[in-house]
Amino acid sequence: MKKRLNIGALFAAALLLGSGPAAAEESFEGWLLNFQRTKEVKPVSNKRYQEECGSCHYAYPAGLLPAKSWEKLLTAEALKKHFGDNAELDAATLQSVRDYVLENSADKSWYKRSRKIARATAEGEAPLRITEVSYIKRVHRDIPEAKIKGNKNVKSLSYCDKCHMQADKGVFDDDTVRIPSQD
């Protein structure tokens, strides 16, 4: 009986340990002892990043690209020609935004989908676009072109939040996808 109580107490202790707002993705121990869901991608948690990048396009969670990609994308020189636009930032803002995305990039994250992206981008050139990540290309390959490029309400896979209804929360699963009507 005592043994059973001990097992129960251990189980309860594990639950208690995990119920706190543990740092889910900062270390293996933190991830292991944390019961918060880390199935998807860590949502954007940096106000400056959200404001600066989100003012022009969907603020992609940092965990959608590996650090080597962010390092290439977020330099003063690269931002002058940011996919055809000038997206220059002042030095302090750039440093702050860069530090945030590098700390939360796919290869530093314990979130499952980020781990998959990190594996898919571990070798080879750093992808500069989310849509160049082999894992992301693979999970979207069955969607007909007409539903994306041919859909004026979507236009491109890079507009994640057009179909992923909870993209702002870092959720990209099948259950939260609604492809907009073409009307």
Binding site: K39, K112, K116, R119, C163, Q166, T176, R178, P180, S181
Partner: protein
């Protein structure tokens, strides 16, 4: 007692089948017109894609048109959720099996010479194995496209599938070999494998 256990297991199996049916029915009723959708090709992946297609949903019901993105609420019953609940149910049954009094445990003498193996430990153990098998089957059915061997075994989804299947097999082996000695080890190992599988993709 034996008949009672059989009845409980049958009832549990019927409930699980019903839950999967509800998951499918929920998807279909809300946003899926399988026969008319050109994107539905008969497999699970195309089913999910067709479910997410607003055009086909509008063809069936005007309800979808009034749902603005800001109001979006993910459906409660989906195939993914059914798999998740089955897995969590398995873990709960494993814990219940461990905590339930074992047949033959005798704290105060005199103890009986012949041990009756029926009881909550056996019932919970069988329920755990049944749920584990249902979890594994539903995982392969609904998440087949998440498993990609070219990503290696350390890919979270591949590892999840490997550990979950091993856990289910070990639990079934434990139930099969019980009450012989060693079945506890198989059952515990199965539970740990299943727990690890859940944690990896939680």
């Amino acid at each position: 007692m034996k008949g009672n256990t059989w009845f409980i297991n049958m009832a549990a199996s019927i409930c699980m089948v019903a839950v999967h049916g509800v998951a499918f029915a929920s998807d279909a009723a809300l946003n899926f017109a399988a026969p008319s959708s050109s994107y539905y090709t008969g497999d699970i992946r195309s089913y999910v894609l067709a479910s997410a297609d607003s055009d086909t949903a509008l063809g069936q019901s005007k309800l979808a048109a009034s749902v603005a993105p800001a109001e979006f609420e993910p459906p409660l019953w989906t195939t993914s959720n059914a798999h998740k609940y089955l897995g969590l149910g398995t873990l709960a049954m494993v814990v219940a099996t461990v905590l339930a009094p074992k047949p033959g445990e005798c704290e105060k003498g005199p103890c009986p010479a012949v041990v009756d193996t029926s009881g909550p430990h056996k019932t919970f153990g069988q329920a755990a194995a049944t749920l584990a098998a249902a979890t594994a089957v539903s995982g392969f059915m609904f998440h087949w496209n998440d498993i990609h061997m070219e990503d290696g075994w350390t890919d979270p989804d591949n590892l999840h599938a490997l550990l979950g299947t091993a856990g289910a097999l070990l639990m079934m082996a434990a139930v099969n070999s019980a009450p012989a000695g060693g079945h506890a080890g198989e059952g515990m190992l199965g539970g740990i494998a299943m727990g690890a599988a859940i944690k990896i993709t939680w």
